[in-house]
C-alpha cells in the first residue's frame, strides 16, 4: 500500500492547508457550493425567462430563493421529514429490496469456491473480496432505490397528495435521502456482519504435528502437516515453570503463525495469529542522500518501477493551473554499496508510546531494483542505523536485514545496541542516547549490495506503536462504504427531482463513473497542458483508433481539421476536468478497503475527512434538489 502526501494530512491540515490555501478542501467546497448556486440561479432564470418573460422569470427565481431562506428552511419540520423518510423506507422495504442481502449471503457461501486458496496473502484476498463486493453491490442498490422513487411518485401522481399538504420541498428532498440511507444502512449492517464471519471463519484452519525432533535441554523442533496449501515448522522451549505446558511458535507463513502447546503427550495447535491485523503506523519524514552522501529530496529515478499508484488531488490549485498535475508520491531509490541512503525522522518516540521491552517495532515494505542478476536465491541486503538527530555523531551500529519484496518485513529497533556516542564505542540506550530530547529519532536505511538499488517512500517504513482490532478496522471500512452510499443516494435523489427515473439513474451513474475516472481525466489534461502528444483528447483518440495510428506520431490529418479536432478536444477535456474536480473523490474513499486488506488501521482523520466531504456533497445535492423541486410544476 503506497500512501500519497495528502493521506498523511490531519483533518485540519486537509481542511485548511495552512501553507497553500488553494489546495484546501474548504476552499474547494466553498467554490463548489457558490458555483452551483450561481449556475443554478442562472439556468433557473433562463428557463423561467423563456417561459414567462424576463421580469416574471426573475420574480420566479427570486421567489424560490426568498422562500428557501424565509420560510422553507426555518419551516422544515422534523416530524414531516421523519414521516417522508419513513415512507421512503417502507416503500423500499415493501418492494423487498432486502432480498439483496439474502443474495449477498448466498453469494458468500459460494464465494469460497472461487477464492484461490493457494494465494500467498489469503487475508488480503478475503478482505478485498468482501469489501469490494459489498461496495459495488451497495452503490448499485443505492443508485436504483434513490433514482426511481420520486419520478414514480410524480408519474403515478401520488405526489399530489403530498405537495397539497403543508410539506416543504426541503422536507421532500431530505426525507427521501434519509429514508433511503436508512434502507441502505439496514442492508449494509448484516452484510458487514456476514463479511466479518466469512473472513474470520474462512481463514481459520488447523494443522497436525507430523515430525518432531528433541534438541535436548527440553527444546524441540518440528514440522506441521500440509494443510490449506501450506505448512509450518515450529520450535518449542521448555516450560518456564514446572507444571506449566511447554510453549512454542511456528514460523510465519502466508502472513500468520500458530502457537503450539504441549499438554501431556499431545501437541495442541492454536488458531492462526497475525492474519487479520490493523497495524497503527507512525510515519516519519523522508530525505535521501545520493551516492556521495549529499542530501537529495527524491532519490534515484529508476523509471517505471518508481510508480506508487494511488490517487492524487490538489483541490482548486490544479484546476486553475497553479499545480500542473495531481500530486503523487513515488518510490525513490538508493544505490547499494555507496553513501546513498534514505533517512527517516520519526517524532514522538517516547518510552510511554513504545513500552515494549525488546525495542521498537519497525516495519518496512521496500522495493528492490536489480541491475545485475546477483544472488537470486536470497533477497537484497540492507542495513538499518539509528542516529540522534540533534547530534549526528551518536549513531548505532547497523542492523542488517534481507529485503522481503511484496511483503511487510517486521524488524525491531532494540532498546540497547552497540554504537558510537561520538567519543567511544559502547552500548547505547535507544531512548537515552539515540532519541533526541524532543523525542525524535533518525532511522537510516542503506542498501548493501553493489549495483543494486533499494526503493522506498514515506509510507514504506514506519514505527508501529500500537495495533487496533481487526473488527473495528473492518467496521471503519464499512463506514467508508456507507459514506459512499450516502453520497450516491444524495446524487440520485437530486437528479430524480427533475429527471425521469431511468435518466436520473444514468446521470447519477455518469457522476460516479466520472468520479472514478477523474485521475485519468487529470492525466489527459496534464499532457494537454504540457503540449505532449499522448494520443490527445476523445476525438483525436477516435481518429487515431480508426486510422490505426500510434499514440506518439503526429496526427495525420490536414492542418485545419487538426486544429478543429484539437480545439474541440481541449474544450471537452477542460470541461471534463472541471466536472471531475467538482465530483466526489470516490476512488479515494474506495481506497480505505486497501488499508483494511493490507492490515493497516484506517486513520481516523481520513475517515473524518471523508465524512465531512460526503456531508458537504449531500448539502449541495440537497440545495440543487430543493431548487428544482420548488420551481417545478408538479402536475405539468
Amino acid at each position: 500500500m503506497t500512501l500519497q502526501p495528502e493521506d498523511f494530512w490531519s483533518f485540519s491540515e486537509w481542511l485548511m492547508r495552512p501553507q497553500s490555501f488553494l489546495e484546501s478542501a474548504l476552499l474547494q467546497g466553498i467554490v463548489l457550493v457558490v458555483l452551483a448556486i450561481l449556475l443554478g440561479l442562472l439556468v433557473g432564470y433562463l428557463v423561467s425567462a423563456v417561459r414567462y418573460g424576463p421580469s416574471e422569470g426573475f420574480y420566479a427565481v427570486a421567489r424560490a430563493v426568498r422562500d428557501l431562506v424565509r420560510s422553507d428552511l426555518p419551516g422544515t419540520s422534523a416530524r414531516r421529514t421523519y414521516a417522508l423518510a419513513r415512507l421512503a423506507y417502507k416503500e423500499a422495504i415493501r418492494r423487498r429490496v432486502l432480498v439483496v442481502v439474502g443474495l449477498f449471503v448466498v453469494g458468500l457461501l459460494f464465494a469460497g469456491w472461487y477464492l484461490d486458496p493457494r494465494s500467498s496473502e489469503p487475508a488480503r484476498l478475503y478482505i478485498s473480496f468482501v469489501l469490494t463486493a459489498t461496495n459495488y453491490l451497495i452503490l448499485l442498490l443505492a443508485l436504483f432505490i434513490s433514482t426511481f422513487s420520486l419520478p414514480a411518485d410524480i408519474k403515478s401522481r401520488t405526489i399530489y397528495t403530498i405537495v397539497t399538504k403543508p410539506v416543504r420541498a426541503t422536507e421532500i428532498v431530505l426525507g427521501r435521502m434519509i429514508g433511503f440511507v436508512a434502507v441502505g444502512t439496514l442492508m449494509l449492517v448484516p452484510m458487514a456482519i456476514a463479511s466479518y464471519f466469512f473472513v474470520t471463519r474462512g481463514l481459520r484452519h488447523d494443522h497436525e504435528v507430523v515430525d518432531i525432533k528433541d534438541l535436548g535441554d527440553g527444546r524441540f523442533e518440528g514440522k506441521l502437516s500440509y494443510d490449506q496449501f501450506h505448512e509450518h515448522t515450529f520450535a518449542m522451549d521448555p516450560p518456564a515453570n514446572p507444571g506449566e505446558p511447554a510453549l512454542g511458535s511456528t514460523d510465519s507463513v502466508r502472513g500468520h503463525r500458530h502457537v503450539v502447546r504441549q499438554i501431556d503427550d499431545k501437541y495442541v495447535i492454536g488458531e492462526p495469529i497475525g492474519a487479520l491485523r490493523a497495524r497503527i503506523p507512525s510515519y516519519g519524514t523522508l530525505a535521501f542522500t545520493d551516492r556521495s552522501g549529499n542530501i537529495d529530496d527524491k532519490g534515484i529515478d529508476v523509471g517505471n518501477e518508481k510508480g506508487g499508484g494511488g490517487y492524487g488531488a490538489s483541490g482548486i490549485s490544479r484546476l486553475i493551473g497553479v499545480a500542473s498535475e495531481a500530486r503523487r508520491l513515488e518510490y525513490g531509490f538508493m544505490e547499494g554499496g555507496t553513501l546513498g541512503s534514505a533517512i527517516y525522522t520519526f517524532d514522538n518516540v517516547t518510552p510511554s508510546r513504545y513500552p515494549q521491552e525488546v525495542g521498537i517495532p519497525i516495519e518496512m515494505s521496500l522495493r528492490a531494483f536489480r541491475t545485475v542478476k546477483g544472488d537470486i536465491v536470497s533477497g537484497l541486503n540492507g542495513t538499518i542505523t539509528m542516529r540522534n538527530p540533534d547530534d549526528p555523531k551518536i549513531e548505532s551500529n547497523p542492523i542488517t536485514f534481507v529485503v522481503q519484496e511484496y511483503d511487510v518485513a517486521e524488524e525491531t529497533l532494540p532498546r540497547s545496541i552497540e554504537g558510537n556516542d561520538g567519543n567511544a564505542v559502547r552500548t547505547l540506550d535507544l531512548f537515552e542516547d539515540l532519541v533526541s530530547d524532543d523525542g525524535r529519532l533518525e532511522v537510516i536505511i542503506r542498501c548493501v549490495d553493489r549495483q543494486q538499488y533499494l526503493g522506498t517512500t514515506v509510507s514504506a517504513v514506519y514505527l508501529r506503536p500500537a495495533e487496533s482490532s481487526f473488527a473495528w478496522n473492518l467496521t471503519k471500512s464499512y463506514i467508508s462504504i456507507w459514506l459512499q452510499m450516502v453520497m450516491v443516494i444524495a446524487f440520485g435523489v437530486m437528479f430524480s427531482t427533475f429527471l425521469s427515473g431511468p435518466v436520473a439513474l444514468v446521470a447519477t451513474f455518469a457522476c460516479v463513473l466520472l468520479g472514478f475516472m477523474a485521475e485519468q481525466v487529470y492525466g489527459i489534461r496534464y499532457h494537454l497542458d504540457r503540449g505532449e502528444d499522448m494520443g490527445g483528447g476523445p476525438i483525436e483518440s477516435l481518429v487515431r483508433m480508426v486510422r490505426q495510428d500510434a499514440m506518439t506520431t503526429e496526427l495525420d490529418v490536414d492542418a485545419v481539421a487538426g486544429k478543429i479536432i484539437k480545439t474541440v478536444d481541449a474544450v471537452m477535456v477542460y470541461s471534463l476536468d472541471a466536472v471531475a474536480t467538482s465530483l466526489p473523490n470516490l476512488p479515494k474513499m474506495l481506497g480505505t478497503a486497501e488499508y483494511a486488506a493490507s492490515g493497516y488501521d484506517i486513520f481516523n482523520s481520513l475517515l473524518a475527512r471523508h465524512a465531512v466531504a460526503t456531508f458537504g456533497y449531500v448539502f449541495l445535492a440537497f440545495l440543487i434538489g430543493y431548487f428544482f423541486l420548488k420551481t417545478r410544476e408538479i402536475a405539468a
Binding site: 414567462y52 414531516r80 417522508l84 401522481r157 401520488t158 397528495t161 399538504k165 403543508p166 402536475a635
Partner: protein, 330 residues
Amino acid sequence: MPVASDPTALAEAPDMVPASSPKSDVVIETRNLSKIYRDFWGRRKVAALKSLDIEVRKGEIFGLLGPNGSGKSTTIKLILGLLFPTSGRVLVFDQDATETRKNERIGYLPEESYLYKFLTTDETLDFYGRLFDLSGAERKRRIDELVNLVGLQAARHRQLREYSKGMTRRVGLAQALINDPDLILLDEPTTGLDPIGTRDMKDLILSLRDQGKTILLCSHQLSDVQDVCDRVAILHQGELKELGKVSELLKVQDVTEVHARGLTEAAKTEIAEVIRRHGGTVESIDNPTATMEDLFLNIVRESERRPGARRVSPGEGTNKKVATESEGKS
C-alpha cells in the same frame, strides 16, 4: 348569460358577488386566471383556461361543471399550486396558491385516489397526519374518527393494494379530512362509489358544509352537483359559461309545480279545469316518478331489514311505494 371574459356581463350577472361583499368571506379568488400548456420546447400546445374570474365564499358548496377538457381539473390544480398560472392570480385564504402554508387549512381529494398502495389505511392516515405536524395523540384520535366516518373499521389494517376502488376512494376522503380543513377540494368525489357510497358522500358533503366548511367540487355527475351544490360554475373549452345559484339556474320560470296527496280522479279534472279558466295550460297531471337512486337505496334498506329473496308481484308496482317513501322523506 354571464361570460367570464366579458367583465360587463359579469357585473350584470345576478349571482356575482357584489363589490361591497366583505373580502374576509372569500376563500378562493381567481383573477383573470389563464393557463397555457406548452411542450418541452416551450411551444404553445393548448390554452386550457382563459381569463377565469370566480370567487368561492366561506361556507358554500361550489361546483365546477363541464365536459372533459373544459378546464375543471386545471382550475383545481392551479388553486392547489400544482400548476403555475400563465397569467393572472389565484388567492386561497388571501395567500398566493403556491404558498405552502395555505395547505394547512386545505383538504384535497384527487380525481383518482393517488395513495401509496403499500400502506394500510391506518398507516396512510398516520402518514398524512404527520405531514400536518399533528401530535401522536391527535393523530390517533383523528384516525379513529375518520375510519369510523368512512366506514373502513374492518379493513383498516389491510394494505391499500387489496382495496376495491370504492374503498380506496373512502381512504382518499379520510386523508383529505385528516387536518379538519376549512376548505375541501373534491375532484370527482363520487367516481367509483356505489349508490350507497354516493349517497353517503353527498350527505357527508352537506354535513361538512353545515359545520361551516367551504367545499369546492368538480364533477361530471350532474345529479350530484344538483343535489349538493349551492353555486356552480360551468366551464367549456377553458371559458366560464355560466355562474350562479343552482336553485335559480335550474328554476323554470313559467312552469308551476304542485304536489298533493290523496286526490281523486274527479278532483284532478276539476283542478285542470280551474287552471284552464285562469288562462294556464295543463301539460300533465300525473303521478311523479322517483329517481333510480331512491329506488336502489330503498331496495337495499329493505333487504337489510328483511334478508332473503325479495318477492315482486306483477300487480304490486314498486314505484308507488318508493314514491311514497321518498315524499315522506322530503
